[in-house]
């Protein structure tokens, strides 16, 4: 080998060795530091691995997993060199880097466990966003009508038996809602939540003016009701709601990917708008309905209401966040209709559609899909400061 070749090999050796050293630096340093920790050589560990946190290193620094290992190692080092302020500082850094960090009893020392319990590792609150569909179930409290209410009832959301010579035109009464909720975990699997919800819902009513006449049924004459005038309205309402809930999570543990829950709560409901989405009449001439008629403007609908609800749901853990599926039944406590204005302020429906509102509570069954984002602020608990 000539002099030139020797120099070339030396240059390549130098180049590769430099590359090798620089590419493995922080990973290797961390491994070396962990071996040093295991061997009880604590003195230089912090100095040797702290440089890997520099953001300017980019991909050359620690990976996420290495960063957590490094923070945990430094925390342990500070515990064992009795530097409490620094151990606290790095415990917080650890909990920020790895939300709800799980300690390993096989590896982690009792001292780390002891320090860990002095810190808030759970989220300070969660923000849930849910969207869903609802179906209304008008619960009739008192019946009013322009027909003979003692004999023929209105049909809500298309469920019922119409009189003879009449049909059902009403829809199913479905709507939608979007809900944002701030939730906080208490203890024992219990959470409380306070939210804001926009709910748009509908219900339809088929209304009949009838007369009784005889009809032969199975060779027996019976008095049955025949429709003289049939009308249908679709009632649409939107509320802004402020729900407050108490939720119990079954097996609330970070190890469980699926967390079923039940919840109960109450809500203040403020009416944003209410109107008749459509209205038509069978009998007489074709009827042109004024869909711009604001029932809120007519003060026909109670602007304020309260409701209670119960939920059944399932959380699916995504890291420290959740996807949620929820079924909820919402029962309004107060009359949806303002009875003082039932007859007075609604000329179009009362006369043209021969329709008047019942007293009803507007109950809802809803299904939602959502995402709950956890927000953390790890700190040492007050009692340990």
């Amino acid at each position: 080998m000539g002099t030139f070749e020797i120099r070339l090999v030396a240059a390549f050796f130098l180049l590769f060795s430099t590359f090798f050293v620089s590419a493995q630096t922080w990973t290797q340093k961390l491994l070396i530091a962990e071996r040093d920790y295991d061997a009880g050589r604590l003195v230089n560990i912090v100095d040797n691995i702290s440089g890997g946190f520099e953001k300017s290193l980019g991909e050359k620094g620690y990976t996420s997993e290495e960063k957590i290992r490094a923070l945990k190692l430094i925390t342990k080092v500070y515990i064992f060199i009795d530097n409490e302020p620094k151990s606290d500082e790095y415990m917080i850094k650890l909990l920020r880097a790895d939300k709800e960090h799980n300690l390993d009893p096989k590896v982690d020392p009792a001292e780390l466990y002891d320090l860990y319990r002095k810190f808030r590792s759970q989220p300070i609150f969660r923000i849930g966003l849910r969207v869903g569909v609802n179906k209304s179930y008008p619960n009739i409290i008192n019946t009013f009508g322009t027909g003979n209410t003692g004999i023929v009832s209105k049909i809500y959301n298309g469920v019922g038996e119409p009189p003879n010579e009449a049909s059902i035109n009403g829809g199913s009464g479905t709507g939608f809602f979007i809900n944002a909720m701030a939730e906080r975990y208490l203890d024992w699997g219990l959470e409380v939540g306070l939210g804001l919800e926009f709910r748009n819902s509908q219900y339809s009513v088929d209304n009949y003016i009838t007369y009784g006449d005889s009809l032969q049924v199975n060779e027996i004459n019976e008095i049955v009701q025949f429709a003289v005038l049939s009308t249908m309205v679709t009632h649409q309402q939107s509320f802004v709601r402020v729900p407050l809930l108490l939720r119990y999570n079954f097996n609330y543990d970070s190890d469980n990917s699926f967390v079923p829950y039940i919840a109960v709560g109450a809500s203040y409901d403020y009416l944003l708008n209410a109107k008749y989405l459509e209205g038509n009449r069978t009998g007489g001439t074709e009827y042109k309905f004024d869909s711009d008629l604001s029932l809120k403007g007519l003060d026909l609908i109670a602007k304020n209401n309260f409701s209670v609800f119960a939920c059944l749901g399932l959380k699916m853990r995504v890291k420290t966040h959740f996807l949620t599926l929820e079924a909820k039944f919402n029962k309004a406590l107060l009359n949806y209709i303002n009875p003082n204005n039932r007859w007075s302020n609604n000329p179009l429906s009362t006369y043209d559609l021969a329709f008047v509102e019942d007293d009803l509570s507007l109950d809802m069954l809803s299904f939602s899909f959502g995402y709950t984002y956890s927000i953390y602020n790890p700190q040492k608990l007050k009692e340990f400061k």
């Binding site: 009013f144 208490l186 003016i209 003289v228 005038l229 109450a266 204005n341 009362t350």
Partner: protein, 450 residues
Amino acid sequence: MIRKYSILVLLILVLMAYSCVVEPDYGPRPVDTFIKYYGISGSNEVVDMITSNQGNLIILGNEESSASGASKDIVILEIDTVGNLIKKKTFDVQSLYAADSSYNFEITDDEAVRIKAIDSGYLLCANFTAKDDKVNGLGSKIFWCELDDNYNIIGKQVISDADYYWEVGDIIKSRDGNIVIVGATNKKEDGDNAIRPEKQRYLTKRSIENDTVFWSKTFGYDDVDDFAIGVVELSDSKLGVIGWTGKSGNQGEAGINTTFAIFTDIGSSSSIDNVYGFEFQGDTDFDDMVGDFVYTETEDVIIVGTSTSNNSVDPRSFPFLFRIRKGGTLVFKELLISSILDLNSGGMDVTISAQNDLIITGVFYNYEDSVSRETYNDQVLFKRTDQFGKVTNDYLPYQNHFGLTTGNDIGKAILTLPDGSIAIAATMDFGNSRTLISYLKVNNKGILKR
């Protein structure tokens, strides 16, 4: 931690507990104002409304099915104070006389006119016309009957002749137990030598048991038509008869005018026959047609009706009120107009309110809202005046209108109920020959609100 949140949890539990026991504000509420519709598939119209012997309301009307070949029948609806239909009875004169060979009417159109409560039953009178009757003639005839409290016919009669027509205006049971019927006919009774073109006031007294005719009289003025639309029996057993005539009024009013006449109890002559009319802004040519009347405890007669000008350029129409003492003295006569801009309207019935003022129903012709400028077809009228028939500024706010945005709706009868609320029976027009009988219960301000 639990202690920290215990207040919050407690608050939630309290809220939930409250929700379980909360007394909702809807509670039992009096159903004291409302609107109800009644009828069959076809046309249904109101004619009259009275209080039943059981304290319910009776609406008298007509109905005609939309089925091909159907004819108009008389209908009686008894409803309770919250508008529930208690009884319904229909009468078809043809069917009632189907087994009577002396009449053998063909298909008849029957038009109810009045129903009156009497001891243990009711009196009903109606006009009917046979659609194709070569035996009995095609002119109008009178049907009247006595009904029991369940509206079953106890006795029935017709006033019919192939060569003449009769129209009934009213029926009463006099204190001697017999029936007085008033109306109009083109048949002059014996002793009536006046010269008339067609129609004259007709009075007859008959037995309720066997239709014995005690007397029948016709009255009127030369060369003009006359009609007796109502009758009351005064305390001295004389008969006060309300009607209309083509004769000029006492003050020279032209057109058709309202009459109030007093006849002896044998209908022999009229000691008083006053003719009242209206003029508006110098125009005396108004047709003043009686809608209805009430007979007060002080034996005054309050008459409501419609004055319609015969001006072909700008025909105006307004309700009117008269109050006349039993001796024929005019207490007041008022044309219910507050300004020239008033909408055209008409009066059909009047009631004395619990406040002792007067409330009329009728019709607004082509109603237009003065604020929104929204236009309607004819609307049911509610108008309140003081006890002297004046629509003063205090009473202007009590004017109201009811009805569909389309269709021609008309208030035909009005009553003051014991609780002070006002019952109105109206015909509501849904178009396409679909009209319904309507019962509105409003407060004394004419609002469907407690």
